[in-house]
Symmetry: C2
Subunit: 247 residues, 2 copies
């Protein structure tokens, strides 16, 4: 299913040339994970939900792959949190930005017409309508980062304290960490720079983990974030892969 | 470099939609290998060279990724062996077959004008000119295999006793093994069905290993093939990955 969504998204001009290659790398690591959400990923998702609910200003940053794979559920997360979604892509072209923006607008309409997540209370249509899609008109730059990928919005990434970024690049993760932001990333490779630098790393496949995150965002009691040892959590995910290879 | 060649090949219509994803999976396993030819791969390459030189009828079977990454060196191997190259792709369309065939013809012209491999003795231009590119007009089918990927040529795959296939699919590898052929495959995933079924599995990156194979084809003394335990060799490659993950 993921492969189909991505090859269609590529044909629709949503993806950079190398996006399918990046997805393939993820597939290989997911195979080592047994294509299931492991316990350490489950714990990282709950910790992420707590951080996102605790945030003063949370933002969900998306690239082409994230939109192709999980646009609807990411919009649901944003509606529950009442936070914006910012399109932020490595290889920025006006055509891709427009294609991604229309795809998200279309997904927003569909999500608004569908039912609210289980356990969520309130006016769902209004909650979804209020989700802002940012990124088309960046007014700021991330310090210590070159090129168009530094572009961002002051309403979104620039002034956020917590950023949820599926499938982030290592340089940008590092630059945003230096700005003092809490970075929550989804990365199937527990050894990647992004995975090792982030505040919380969810080593899981995006389509599989976003519904779990959504459920946690709705249902987890508001509380202070737990003490979190990201390296220990990464080691646990790596151990799952090692056990599987060993068997 | 591999990424660039493949995204260009995709733009040129040489690849199936999912070819870049398959390459990405390979990249992930190559990362675990340390992006180097390990000792077990080195041994598998030499064993392959011996089998290919010993063959009554050897053929090199190529798909889009193999052509994009290593067309010239595969043609050099075929010239040294005086064996045909057969284009054999999973998602066969006339457009892709034509694109691959012209790409190989172009590469053949370039290889003919360049110098012969080190140590090779003879008339290089004639040796290269004599390499047949098969596949456009298949006249046979591989038994026990459905769909267009069963199509093949009697001059090539059908009557070959040794087939060198970079990046083969599992079903086809199995069907060809059942025909009693010796299958030499290049697969970065030592756990794949193809890797586990083949006669000799070279767990290595194609662009890195083909020059080594070429050198072995030129320089290895003709001798009887060694006794070969492919499972033990695969285990050694897997052990390299495990060690690296463990570190």
């Amino acid at each position: 299913m993921g492969r189909k969504l991505l090859t269609e998204a590529a044909a629709d001009g949503l993806l950079a040339d190398s996006a399918l290659i990046a997805h393939g790398r993820g597939e290989a690591y997911d195979y080592l994970l047994g294509e299931a959400t492991c316990e350490s990923a489950r714990a990282a998702i709950t910790q992420s939900a707590i951080l996102m609910k605790d945030a003063k200003r949370c933002v969900i940053s998306v690239n082409g792959n994230a939109v192709a794979l999980a646009a609807a559920d990411l919009i649901r997360c944003a509606a529950v949190l009442q936070c914006p979604i910012e399109i932020n892509i490595y290889y920025r072209t006006p055509e891709r930005m427009t294609a991604l923006s229309s795809r998200l607008d279309r997904a927003k309409k569909e999500v608004r017409e569908n039912s609210a997540p289980n356990g969520w209370v309130g006016d769902w249509q209004t909650a979804v309508s209020d989700v802002k899609i940012l990124g088309i008109n960046p007014d700021s730059r991330i310090p210590n980062l070159d090129g168009p990928r530094a572009n961002c919005c002051s309403e979104g990434i620039l002034n956020a304290d917590v950023i949820f970024v599926p499938l982030e690049d290592g340089d940008r993760c590092e630059a945003l960490m230096k700005m003092g932001k809490k970075m929550i990333v989804v990365d199937l490779n527990p050894l990647s720079r992004t995975a090792r630098r982030a505040t919380v790393t969810i080593v899981d496949e995006l389509m599989r983990m976003v519904p779990i995150l959504l459920s946690d965002l709705v249902n987890v009691e508001p509380e202070r974030a737990l003490k979190w040892d990201n390296q220990a959590n990464l080691d646990n995910s790596l151990a799952v892969m090692l056990r599987r290879l060993d068997e």
